[in-house]
Amino acid sequence: MTTLLIKGGRVIDPANGLDEVADVLIAEGRVAAIGSGKGKTEAEIDASGMIVCPGLIDMHVHLREPGQEWKEDIESGSRAAVAGGVTSMCCMPNTQPRLDHAGVLRQVIERARQVGLCDVHPIGAVSRNLDGKELTEMRELVRAGAVAFSDDGRPIWHSGVMRKALEYASTFGFLVIQHAEDLQLTGGGCINEGRISTQLGVNGMPDVGEDDMISRDIMLAKLADANYHVAHISTRGAVDLVRRAQAEGLKVTAEAAPHHFALTEEEVLGYNADAKMSPPLRTEEDRLAVIEGLRDGTISVIASDHAPHHEDDKRCGLSCAAFGIVGLESMLPVSLDLERGGVLGMPELIATMTSNPASLLKLDAGTLSEGAVADVCIFNPDEKWTLDRNALFSKSRNTPWHGREMTGRVLHTIKGGRHVFGKGEILV
């Protein structure tokens, strides 16, 4: 294994409260030292003027393999990840077959190891086939590598099943992640219900369809004394519910996706299917509430909800188009707006994509501690570039940010001491 010196960057490691200009020495795939590097190394990266932080963790990604490899696979998803500075990601179980058996999880993890760009940690299914009826063998799935459980995209609406899922999971200290959507209220809808859905004449998904499920779940989490995590929180009401639950001392956490704090329902005007996802883009009031939740720590994690779809699934009219957008490659630059806007300091912002998800999921990642696996993201927070959907590393192009100027760019990604992404290219 070679040695690598990352010279002169602003090194930010939230887990250790570190924020200083320093050199990072990597040897044998691990962080050897942070300080002033004097010795000879086999390779060097000049990071002056850049930020050097732990490789990002994206705890909400859809990799589509197995089952929908024309949209994305573990290799293309891994390339997109490291291009976005992400070195660990959690893949959601709505593949085909589902991530509800140990064999499928092992296969996904093994494939990711072969690709060798980014660690993939599966989120196991809560229920068999995501049907919301029978629980999966959670202990077995954890032994196979599951780091949490979710029926993402297929919310667990049966209160009895959700109670049991929370009780069983928390017995063993497992985390349950809910895609909170009351399908009885949102079914048939395609964008936020409100001003824009009425103008466009399409069925809406009301905000209370998110809030009512979170409200119930919090009560159940309290009953079960469980760890409960809200995926991609998007409404003002939901942020308030989580804030109150935390004030009560419950083990309730939440993540936000960049599109929910950067964009509003206005994006959909003109029937823009690349701005269609679930939960949908909401109002300005909701957007500001999500930002406030990030500011005060109610929302501790930023995750992309990377959801690749083929153009055929998007080019069929807004109502018929698939839900979701790609996000791995735009997560960091879009999130940097929070730092520029004074919502979070740079270390706090980086924590939402490194140490916070790592501690939530008990991952051995997200830090530059001496001896830690050397996963590093090096970015220029000020570089301006224009996002071109045809230049993404993902197989899919469904992004609302096509043609928009981004500020902040990932320049290098180091995975386990290997320089895997640099100057716009995958290096291995």
């Binding site: 009425t198 004449g201 809406g204 069929c316 009219g317 807004l318």
Partner: protein
């Protein structure tokens, strides 16, 4: 007209001038349909395709008659006879028909935004929205405005009371947009279950009590209750109760002003939203609306064909194909 129209997606895109010009053109076309020989050469050599993915009698027929009376070649395609029943995508159907070089595609579809969506891919075909989901139905509203202008003393300053399933009504949306541009008032009457969210953004009045809404109404505009759609999802408990609360009968008509007229975009459910004696009364303008529908569609076809005649670039797809053929030729 202030600027030529390539497409007619909705009232939302039109200026007040453009709306009034189309109504004026429609008015001048009414007379043509009353002649013994109902034919003018205006659109000779033009091809109009009526592509209907949803059932329609009056809209499709009136587009067909409008085109034929103006000497266009009119082709009708309904979803059941088209390739969509074989699984062809909406976009492929649109591109296939556009490749046959029609001047105008008249489209009705249950999905809101279908016309805007297709227009992005068919830059050389004029598209007319004949009703898209709950979005817009511009030719119906132009028709209604022509009827108001000629049979009810104009529309400016009037109060048009629209009653019924506002949530699913593209006609209501188009009227709300037209009212803002032309200076008439819209009063909406429906139970909350049939009103979409944030409807007040259009500056309209919303009332739940039909009886209270009658005084001051100049037009009672009754919407068809789509019973097949509504009893399933609990929007109202029964047709009987709906008729009692929101149906227009003789007693209610008497409570409105003497000059108040009755309109309906059709098709009617007699005994549901409108009682037969009201539908057939002297105050009904329902058949005038149908007659004016033909005239307005003549006006819209004429306006669009005038504009589309100027467009003669190949489509991007054709350009790509031509480039590919050229490249192949060079290789050979």
């Amino acid at each position: 007209m202030s600027q030529p129209l390539q497409h007619l997606f909705g009232i939302g895109q039109l200026s007040r001038d453009q709306i009034e010009t189309l109504i004026g053109m429609g008015e001048s076309f009414v007379e043509l349909s009353r002649r013994p020989i109902k034919k003018a050469p205006t659109l000779r050599g033009k091809t109009v395709i009526n592509l209907f993915f949803e059932n329609s009698t009056r809209t499709r027929t009136s587009f067909e008659i409008a085109g034929k009376r103006l000497s266009a070649d009119v082709i009708n395609i309904s979803a059941s006879t088209s390739a969509t029943s074989k699984g062809e995508s909406l976009l492929d159907t649109g591109e296939t028909l556009a490749a046959m070089q029609p001047h105008v595609l008249v489209i009705r579809h249950s999905l809101a935004g279908t016309c805007e969506f297709l227009a992005d891919f068919l830059p050389h075909t004029s598209i007319i929205n004949a009703g898209d989901g709950a979005h817009e139905h511009p030719t119906q509203v132009l028709t209604d405005l022509l009827t108001l202008k000629t049979q009810a003393g104009g529309y400016a300053g009037k109060t048009v009371t629209i009653v019924g399933d506002i949530a699913h009504s593209r006609v209501a949306r188009s009227h709300l947009l037209a009212a803002q541009k032309l200076g008439y008032k819209v009063r909406l009457v429906a139970p909350k279950t049939l009103l979409p969210s944030h409807i007040e953004q259009y500056g309209c009045e919303v009332m739940y009590d039909f009886d209270a809404a009658l005084p001051g109404s100049d037009v009672l505009y009754m919407l068809r209750v789509q019973t097949e759609r509504l009893t399933d999802n609990c929007s109202f408990p029964s047709i009987r109760e709906y008729h009692e609360a929101y149906g227009l009968n003789r007693n209610r008509l008497a409570m409105a002003g003497e000059d108040c007229v009755v309109m309906h975009p059709g098709p009617m459910n007699r005994g549901v939203e409108i009682a037969s004696d009201v539908a057939d009364s002297a105050r009904s303008r329902i058949l005038d609306q149908v007659e004016h529908g033909v005239a307005i569609r003549m006006a819209v076809l004429t306006a669009l064909c005038g504009a589309s005649a100027e467009v003669d670039k190949p489509s991007p797809k054709q350009a790509r194909a031509a480039a590919a053929m050229q490249a192949q030729g060079k290789l050979l």
